[in-house]
């Protein structure tokens, strides 16, 4: 069988079964490498691989949740929203309960979004803001309780920033 390039014999055969659909690829080693496929080593080349993809899959890059669970790595920026439900508990465990970003924001993004109604707040929509503020307040309480006042002041600054970046209006009650 010829590879899709039409030049060389296809030596690497991949079958992916996803949501009951079968997708086949038959490639030569050069094209397989180009496509980022695992071609193995010269001693043990991968000649046939059948993958059954289970669970949700990212439309943008094809990464499945089972693949992520296996490698620990996501495939593209879109994976974060696609797997949001599955990622949330994992993020909480990995980041001391943290689920929303606090801190630096790309400068150009900040400039392009400030003052525009669509921008709302770089820190997300109302739900995301409430989640973030709730988290910060909890951290503040812990810091005060532990008499870590310098840290508490820092968290207070972050709360002020989060409230400021929202275009007008008092911050919502948590």
């Amino acid at each position: 069988m010829l590879c899709q390039c039409g030049e060389r014999e296809a030596t690497i055969h991949e079958v992916v079964i996803k949501a009951g659909r079968k997708v086949e690829r038959h490639l030569c080693e050069v094209c397989a490498r180009q496509a980022g496929m695992d071609v193995g080593t010269p001693a043990t080349p991968v000649v046939a691989k059948v993958t059954v993809v289970q669970g949700p899959t990212c439309d943008a890059c094809g990464t499945s949740i089972s693949e992520f669970r296996h490698t620990g790595l996501l495939g593209c920026p879109a994976c974060y929203r696609r797997f949001e439900t599955q990622l949330t508990p994992l993020l909480e465990r990995a980041h001391e309960g943290g689920t929303h970003h606090v801190g630096k924001v790309p400068l150009r993004l900040l400039q392009s979004m400030s003052g525009t109604p669509a921008g709302e707040s770089l820190l997300g929509d109302a739900v995301e803001r409430a989640a973030r503020l709730g988290l910060l307040r909890q951290q503040l309480e812990e810091a005060v309780h532990a008499e870590q006042y310098e840290r508490a002041a820092m968290i207070r600054d972050e709360i002020a920033k989060a409230a400021d970046s929202h275009s007008g209006g008092p911050e919502p009650k948590p």
Partner: protein, 368 residues
């Protein structure tokens, strides 16, 4: 400049920032490091990037990186064409990770020929920007002593300069998006390299490790993830990157945790001197004796002896040997540097001989 294509990497031994032996708390803290993980919008992360994607990411990043207005010259090294020795030297100087040298992701994907590179501030070695490691960009800034604030300042300047012409993958909820969700959010890792012989000799290291784990900090060996603690050198770093700002993470490490470890180590050293003075003095001088007389030295053995010697120098138990010599040797006894110094490829046995020769020669002026 194009050190990547067969040329020598133009580094000067004295320039390694992490061995400068100056800076705040430098009796315990060797260096402070800040690493920012960034990815370009519109490209898949490394695990899903094709060879063509990787090449394009490398081209775009390299062009932007060498254009950054910095005070010093930025050297670029193409790692897929660099020699094994060049890659080893970069790892030993802490300018690239072992993973980046191999071109392999932790998941096992990739290989030595994958398009990837590193930009290095050539004179000071305070800055290294890895392209196509686990993330498209890893900006790393290094300072001697306890100086995370300064290291963060430089990393941020480079990040801001790059962001003017590069679109980063950023999400309002998740922050800077990274291939591994354990880095998402700020994408920042603060890391402090500590010399803890006192705690090791007093068997107190486990306590530090347990306390660090309880505070969500990682304690790693000399070469980071998965490496052993040779020469009593440990790296302590944050693991949390989401839900706390850069400033909060910096504060926790620099003002709350590291000072405690420093005090703990200093107290252990004092205790060793007051309660076991002769034993410690004997140990230090035995180390010096072996270093100045051995004919064969393995890398780990040399590192451990140099660690003990450094402890002796810092505590004033050894006179005449400058600290910078002990520091320079910590680097020069590494296989890659040793190979370069002798100018010929060697097997392990020959390396042990060459290592002992080099150490004896360096310490000869200080033999008593």
């Amino acid at each position: 400049m194009s050190a990547g294509r067969g040329g020598e990497i133009p580094f000067h031994e004295a320039n390694t920032e992490w061995l400068r032996a100056t800076g705040q708390a430098c009796d315990v803290v060797l260096s402070s490091r800040v690493r920012l993980a960034r990815n370009l919008a519109g490209f898949p992360f490394m695990p899903k990037a094709s060879r063509a994607d990787r090449r394009q990411i490398l081209d775009v990043c390299r062009r932007r990186v060498v254009e950054i207005p910095t005070q010093e010259r930025i050297a670029w090294v193409d790692l897929h064409t660099a020699s094994t020795e060049q890659r080893t030297i970069l790892v030993e100087r802490h300018l690239i990770s072992k993973q980046h040298a191999r071109g392999k992701l932790n998941s096992g994907q990739g290989g030595i020929e994958e398009p990837r590179g590193v930009a290095i501030a050539q004179q000071s070695e305070q800055l290294a920007i890895m392209v196509n490691e686990e993330d498209h960009l890893r900006i790393q800034s290094l300072r001697c002593g306890l100086s995370l604030t300064e290291a963060l300042k430089l990393a941020n300047e480079i990040d801001d300069a790059l962001e003017r012409s590069l679109d980063y993958a950023f999400d309002r909820r998740f922050g800077y998006l990274t291939a591994c969700p354990t880095n998402v959010g700020t994408g920042i890792r603060f890391s402090v390299m500590l010399h803890l012989p006192g705690l090791r000799l007093r068997n107190e290291l486990e306590k530090v490790k347990r306390a660090a784990a309880a505070m969500s900090l990682a304690v790693r060996g000399f070469y980071g993830e998965g490496s052993n603690a040779v020469g009593d050198l440990y790296q302590i770093s944050n693991q949390t990157t989401l839900g706390k700002s850069e400033q909060m993470l910096l504060h926790e490490l620099q003002n709350e945790i590291i000072p405690q470890v420093i005090e703990y180590e200093r107290a252990s050293r004092r205790m060793l001197v007051t309660r076991g003075g002769p034993v410690l003095r004997d140990r230090v001088h035995r180390a010096l004796g072996i270093l100045t007389h051995a004919r064969l030295l393995a890398a780990e053995e040399a590192m451990d002896l140099l660690s003990t010697l450094r402890l002796g120098i810092v505590l004033g138990l050894v006179e005449g040997v400058p600290e910078r010599i002990a520091h320079a040797l910590l680097l020069l006894v590494q296989p890659g540097h040793l190979q370069r110094a002798t100018g010929r490829p060697m097997d392990q046995e020959h390396r042990r001989g060459a290592r002992a020769d080099l150490v004896r020669a360096a310490l000869a002026p200080y033999r008593t």
